[in-house]
Amino acid sequence: MTTDEVTTPGEQRGRFPAVVREAPGVDPVSTSVPRWDATDLEALAIDPDVRHWLVATSADMRTQVERFAHRLPAATVVDIDDGLADALRTARAGWRIVLVGPQRSVARARSSSLAAGALDCEVLSVSTDGVSGFDAATVDVFCAHCHHVSSGDVGIGGTITCGGCDRELAVAQHFSQRHHAYLGSLADGGSRHGGPGTTAAAGEE
């Protein structure tokens, strides 16, 4: 790899004001961008056969969540950022998991829940800041080049500076449930610096 073909992130910054908001050929309806189950606890469908619920929530929603949990046959209420990992270790098959909080917390908690063995249909997500990932919010972005996950207030099609490699990343319509993050890649795609091969080489640093 020759480094002189790769522009430094500093040189790239601010150079790409016109960002394509929708990737050509990508149908917004079928992308992996999250569509949350509800924005209000009261709107959740409650399966009467489920005997135990694990409810994880952010501190500001705690009172409302406790009231909701009171209506369930049995429930464990934990903190979405600090208490969920322990609770998942003792959770049983047949339970349901309800996640209540801002999108980024819900996405992270959803990722941990699936990793612990929960199925997609067993995790109910209630977002308090937007009905879907198309609404701007604080989100995680996975860098395609250095694999660092950065957080920031950015929407799909926007740009964010990677906290790991300082590259300017364009946020794609691709959301990884496993990484609980949007895919971010070099905002100019490397096209003016010698074609796709150049970008791939930069990603292997």
Partner: protein
């Protein structure tokens, strides 16, 4: 890709209860295609007739395939034919077909076997031991018909439970359904009634269908029902289906080459397009959406819901 294999019988062992273990190998002793736990062979026992038998042996670069066949003299004749095979006999079979595989993301596997339904469970156990997966086995059988009970006991140790009666079995199932880790998946193989019972208990304890995996041993006559007439859209001809004949057999008898394998509505090979008419879906292959769509039928078990149906054949 399913291919046709020529195999020879290398070992025969009677397991009691009319169950015979048959081991097959390549005639030249070559390695056979590998398979995942829960796979079966489609063994040809007459022209156009195949029976599916679960593989009980290890699937990693195998040099032999072992299956177990329960003799059923009131069946269509496949199991009797299998029992007539001697040492060195030649058998044609499909390469292994996977329709009951372990779920890779499961954190714990509960394997429930009823009677001869123990056969795929045996290969699940071997694979779980090879890869160090967490598992347990619940095996229920009639007195004297516990095929592979000793072998399973040696393989599983404490992880095997063999409840002696129905209430002990139900109690154990309820315990499993109430108190197993979040990522547990449950696999059932045995009589259709046992599977339906366990599935209902699971549903009442909040288990989604996606945690349950089943391979049913359909009873003979399940494909029968009221007689109906089939209109064939392509050829313009008609086929009458009598009450005791499966739609698949009626189509084959009429000279149509309908691919098929399991004859239990499980494998999906015989999927046939429907142009018009209501369907009595009896398979476990199609999704709910496909059923409601009414555009495809599994003729090995399913029938017309009315007096007529039109197939795109």
């Amino acid at each position: 890709m399913v291919e046709e294999l020529a195999l020879v019988v290398t070992r025969i062992r009677d397991l009691g209860g009319d169950i015979r273990a048959i081991t097959l190998a390549d005639p030249e002793g070559e390695a056979l295609p590998s398979f995942t736990a829960g796979s079966h062979l489609g063994v040809a026992w007459a022209p156009g007739q195949r029976n599916s038998y679960s593989l009980t042996s290890s699937g990693v670069m195998p040099h032999e395939y072992s299956i177990a066949v329960r003799r059923n003299d009131s069946g269509r004749g496949g199991s009797s034919w299998m029992h007539s095979l001697g040492h060195g006999a030649c058998v044609y079979a499909t390469s292994p077909v996977s329709a009951f595989a372990p779920v890779a993301t499961a954190t714990h596997h509960v394997l429930v076997a009823g009677g001869i339904g123990v056969t795929p469970v045996l290969s699940h156990v071997r694979e779980a031991l090879t890869w160090g997966r967490s598992f347990e086995v619940i095996y229920r059988f009639r007195p004297g018909a516990g095929a592979y009970a000793d072998e399973l006991s040696q393989l599983c140790g404490e992880r095997l439970a063999m409840p002696s009666d129905r209430s002990a079995f139900d109690e154990l199932i309820d315990d499993v359904l109430t108190d197993r880790p979040l990522g547990t998946h449950l696999y059932m193989c045995g009589p259709a009634q046992m599977i339906a019972d366990v599935a209902e208990r699971a549903r009442r304890r909040g288990w989604p269908a996606a945690r349950l995996h089943a391979e049913a041993f359909a009873a003979a006559g399940d494909a029968g029902g009221t007689p109906f007439r089939v209109d064939l859209a392509m050829s313009g001809s008609q086929v009458e289906v009598d009450s005791d004949v499966a739609l698949l057999d009626a189509l084959i008898a009429a000279g149509l080459d309908v691919p098929h394998l399991c004859r239990q509505g499980v494998c999906g090979q015989c999927a046939t397009p429907v142009a018009a008419g209501d369907i009595d879906h009896r398979d476990s292959y199609l999704t709910a959406d496909e059923r409601n769509g009414g555009r495809v039928i599994m003729p090995c078990v399913s029938r017309a819901a009315g007096e007529r149906i039109t197939l795109d054949l």
